[in-house]
Symmetry: C2
Subunit: 296 residues, 2 copies
């Protein structure tokens, strides 16, 4: 593809963009606190023009947008593409908001036992990570407010699962009885406390039970104040890993670049899982490959 590409990841609370060259190299990046929840209905085109309009030169430049911009509260609602779905399936289902110039990537849906699951944006990171790693199958995890565990076969997402791990952490951290014995600020990461939380969660049958340990350890003064946020983080991430029933020697790709991702890498490593970490460029690479998918 010879057209310049503007790659956008428009999430719930943040908006990131990159201008890519013909080899998928990043020429320039921008990030704004302009997630979709900050944009009024009907205002998306104007926000895009304001923040990325200068990148849409020369004429013929293409912009692809992944993430919540395709949700009901976004630019336009783009139907989910049902799994199994590969990069080409998604590229064919792009929703054009400016014909030939600006398109939104559809999210994916899957279904288990009559219950749907959904993602928007993560599919693009998954396809990018597969390309970056040169693989077409595996288990990939995207940690976050709503973590996604994705199973890929022959280049297609065949199944995935959402776990509300980051959101449960925030609920317990700020709104539960546990908040009363936690410091106001998370402070520094405490490795032994995090590991203790992981270990307790893994030997517990579930978070409803293991979470109470954060209260009793504080009540019995067995855990210094500064350790408690890291312990709670270990409890919820450990609970997520417990439910995945991972085997030692298994391979998992972790996608993400922040401190949270590093916690997953650490926890998975202690389980004997072989971890490959892929950072933020996964989204740009995914969009780059989709752009190629729509043009010969």
């Amino acid at each position: 593809m010879d057209r310049p590409l503007v790659a956008i990841d428009w999430g719930t609370s943040s908006l990131r963009g990159a201008r890519l060259d013909a080899q998928a190299g990043v020429l320039e990046e921008r990030a704004f606190a302009r997630g979709i929840l900050s944009v009024a209905a009907g205002g998306f085109a104007a926000v895009f023009d304001e923040l990325f309009g200068d990148w849409m030169q020369p004429p013929g430049t293409l912009a692809l947008i992944a993430g919540m911009a395709g949700s009901r509260q976004g630019w336009i609602e783009v139907p989910y593409r049902a799994c199994p779905a590969g990069l080409a399936d998604v590229a064919q289902a792009l929703a054009w908001v400016a014909p030939g110039r600006i398109a939104i990537v559809p999210g994916l849906s899957c279904e288990r036992a009559g219950v749907p699951d959904v993602m928007r944006g993560e599919e693009t990171q998954v396809f990018g990570a597969l390309k970056l790693l040169g693989i077409d199958a595996g288990t990939l995890v995207l940690p976050g407010t709503h973590s996604k565990w994705v199973r890929v076969e022959a280049g297609r997402v065949v199944d995935f699962t959402t776990l509300m791990t980051g959101e449960f952490y925030a609920l317990l951290r700020r709104h539960s009885i546990l908040a009363r014995t936690l410091p106001d600020d998370d402070g520094g990461f405490d490795t032994p406390a995090f590991d203790a939380g992981i270990a307790h969660a893994l030997r517990s049958p579930g978070l409803l039970q293991s979470a109470f340990s954060a209260r009793t350890l504080a009540l019995f003064e067995r855990q210094p104040l500064a350790q408690r946020p890291s312990y709670l983080s270990g409890l919820v991430i450990g609970e997520e890993l417990r439910t995945r029933a991972l085997r030692g020697g298994e391979r998992v790709v972790v996608i993400g670049a922040d401190a949270l991702t590093q916690r997953y890498v650490r926890a998975l490593a202690t389980l004997g899982v072989h971890v490959t970490a892929v950072g933020a460029p996964a989204a740009w690479r995914g969009l780059f490959e989709m752009a190629h998918g729509i043009e010969p």
Copy 2:
């Protein structure tokens, strides 16, 4: 025991009392929204006198108080009695706030894998339920904000587990992303939706995952608004039951008298568990037996 007994259950947010006759019959009951969190430090004796002072006649009347009145934020902090502990052990460890007249019942603690667990008040209900049912062993559950599952052998509590089920429901109901697709009021109880929540939780590996179904079923408009609170209730109660690994034919005593308790009775029955329900009188009977335990 010939002395008149005033039985008190002083919890975090409520205060209940009963005047009992010599056969443990209830002569009179009172309930107030005067939980320990509403009483300033040092103010407990005055509140007791105000609300129950008239019951302390004739001289020689005894008052026993179970619940959070013995916690750090209560009348006085009463150390937990370590398990295993029976009714006599607890009666011997009463903490007298007015010598010979008014005493507070100690809570229980137990420990598993270096992590403590605690209860205050439930031990009294358990001992009362055992007497009411004429049994000295079994599995008993006390549903609530923090549910307790208690194992009793030879009349003594040998082990128990706290699950933060009611609190997780409240967190998800009011503070999570799920709140956005839930009605403001819980409305009536919807049996099929509750059962669907139970079933989904039981076949799921954990609540981090199953909770997201409340979002996607709403997103795909597969669940009417009015059903959603009952479904979410089924999810969290089902998660609690999943972690208990119950076997069909097992016997469980459920202690409590409110609508929540009825949900547990229903859910346990669908698992093939034999359920015996014991209502609010369990606390009064427990205190009555303790009063006998301290007097020949």
